[in-house]
Symmetry: C2
Subunit: 149 residues, 2 copies
Amino acid sequence: MRYANYVTDTVDEQGLASRLRLAVVRLNRRLRAQRTNSSITLTQVSALSTLHKCGPLTPGELAAKEGVQPPSMTRVIAALEEFGFATRRPHPTDGRQAIVQLSDSGLAFVNEEVGAREAWLDKRLAELTAEERELLSRAAEIIDRMAGQ
Amino acid sequence: MRYANYVTDTVDEQGLASRLRLAVVRLNRRLRAQRTNSSITLTQVSALSTLHKCGPLTPGELAAKEGVQPPSMTRVIAALEEFGFATRRPHPTDGRQAIVQLSDSGLAFVNEEVGAREAWLDKRLAELTAEERELLSRAAEIIDRMAGQ
DNA sequence: TATTGTTATACTCTATAACTATA
DNA sequence: TATAGTTATAGAGTATAACAATA
């Protein structure tokens, strides 16, 4: 059972869900295919960006923000520590938890290398009109809100 | 080197590329996590949808439309054949190629099951306003165009 | 007991390299 | 030779189940 007939009312007959799914799947593939000199992966870049944006987090909080299960985040954090981009220190009041934080070189990496990593997307965005970018900006907000539920 | 300063001009300071990347990565994770009774995966559903939308295609054409390399598509097509959702017949004029086509049960699957597969996203979309859905519809078009380059 | 996190394991997704068959 | 496709292989991404440590 579909949840609504809104699709035929307001958008086109192909189905918004289908078109949005396909668009997201394809852009995701493109983004993952971008590789810079460094061997960091998109998943790791994403976690790094979140640490940059949100400040120190516990592994569980970081997993929740990224929308992955804790065991998946364990591996990402381990990789970031190996790169020297993140550090882990004990939680002040709860011995089970830890605090994961960007290191100095992690911060430098975010500022310098993440831009390079996103060069492909930046270039594509630069080719759009200002109106299209504004639209995508609002779409990103809506998509992120949906994904967070 | 960034490609333009448009970001600070028109959007917000966090960087449109970063925000769009994160949104797409997260929604992609959510979509892949949706599982119905059937054991078909999102990648297979995506190829099936494209076959439905475009009609019979060669493996190479299908790979190009999905934005994956031919060996990746080989596996997807093999899975769809095993499910009985697609058939392969010889190309009429070129013995190297083949024509991949939706079977009757593949067509039925697209019509019935793909909707169920997308139930989660449909529900999220139904919770938005008509304006937000209209915006996402246009965003999907732009994103798909960018990913296709 | 409940919660946080890790380890073990397995499966999906995807790519590159090497190969086969046909043009 | 060039092209279309497949096979072999490997790495990234992610999950669930089982476990350990702490609350």
